[in-house]
Symmetry: C2
Subunit: 201 residues, 2 copies
């Protein structure tokens, strides 16, 4: 016998698919959903269908687009197409956009190289990146993969295969976060911060 009546149990199972959601949280969410008005619940359900229906892949940067054509960034006036920031996931584009100030474009790899998980360059959008570079418009590639083993591997791999094109390839600086405390930084971060130290003059 299920603990909850069938329609609630079913919704709990669905909520449990979300990252970090266990049985108790899922039940809390399900009861909160039950307390929505009919209209609110219908809007919630439609928003879920909406992300599958209305979100497309941008044919240029492989990021997310709300149309079937180029995304707002790739199609945007005033974006510098000669600078490409390479990120692992479409979500990272939005994170980087919060920085403001960056006027270049992006390229979404769709993951990072990980031999253990059998993720090879063919699983990522490396080919599409090379095609963009070969078009001759690109002057700099900023690799913004995560500072994880697989992000590091990906960055090193990209630096190597982009070398023949004679363009600038850089990587985000890693170090002590602004507002962070040296006392609480882990040694790998400290090592990176030492390595990436900059002279005052």
């Amino acid at each position: 016998m299920a603990e909850y009546i069938a329609p609630i149990q079913r919704l709990i199972e669905e909520f449990r698919r979300l990252p970090g959601v266990g049985a108790k949280t899922a039940a809390r969410y399900a009861f909160a959903t039950l307390n929505l008005t009919d209209d609110e619940a219908a809007r919630f359900a439609d928003a879920i269908n909406g992300v599958k229906r209305d979100v497309h892949k941008c044919p240029v940067c492989m990021g997310l687009s709300s149309t079937s054509g180029e995304c707002d960034i790739c199609a945007g006036e005033g974006r510098d197409k000669s600078v490409i920031c390479v990120v692992e996931s479409a979500k990272d584009v939005m994170v980087m956009e919060k920085v403001r100030g960056y006027r270049g474009v992006y390229h979404v790899l769709g993951g990072s190289l990980s031999p253990l998980d059998n993720i090879t360059p063919a699983d990522l959008t490396v080919k599409e990146l090379l095609l963009r570079v070969e078009s001759g418009e690109v002057g700099e590639i900023i690799v913004a993969t995560n500072p994880t083993p697989s992000g590091d591997t990906t960055a090193a791999y990209l630096a190597r295969i982009l070398e023949p094109y004679g363009i600038t390839v850089s990587r985000l600086a890693y170090g002590i976060p602004v507002g962070g405390d040296i006392e609480y930084a882990d040694e790998v971060t400290l090592y990176r911060a030492m390595e990436g130290r900059r002279s005052f003059n």
Copy 2:
């Protein structure tokens, strides 16, 4: 300009309605939803519509029912209709059911008395409870409201209005949780535990 493209932003807003979900968690959920297959997302959306469509209020106990008639507990064979456990919310019924062993029925108040929030007996299903008691079948009412100020108020109120019917009205025991440590119990819980002490003989 929204941080995320419209369909994703919309889903994030919906997830933020859930209890305890902030902007970052909602974004995480939205991207996880985006990564579901079309079928999985459709099932998720339908489960949300399902709880609104398929969950009804039991006309006897005011709890949740998967049919428009009596819920499984009220309609269940072998349930003792002379004992009613009064709880604040429909979710509490399912929590109490986990205890097993309890063979009585329930009554869902739909909240607790709270003058500050303007919740009076008329906002709860007190009238429905009295009708059940007046039917003459009921021998004992177990009040299982939460050990909070409003739960306590509700319990005291119910004890008072049920007094004329001459039936047993009891309340759940409050005290040190099993496996708990006296050292870490707060003084209110300790006071309740002292007050509710039981003799060994």
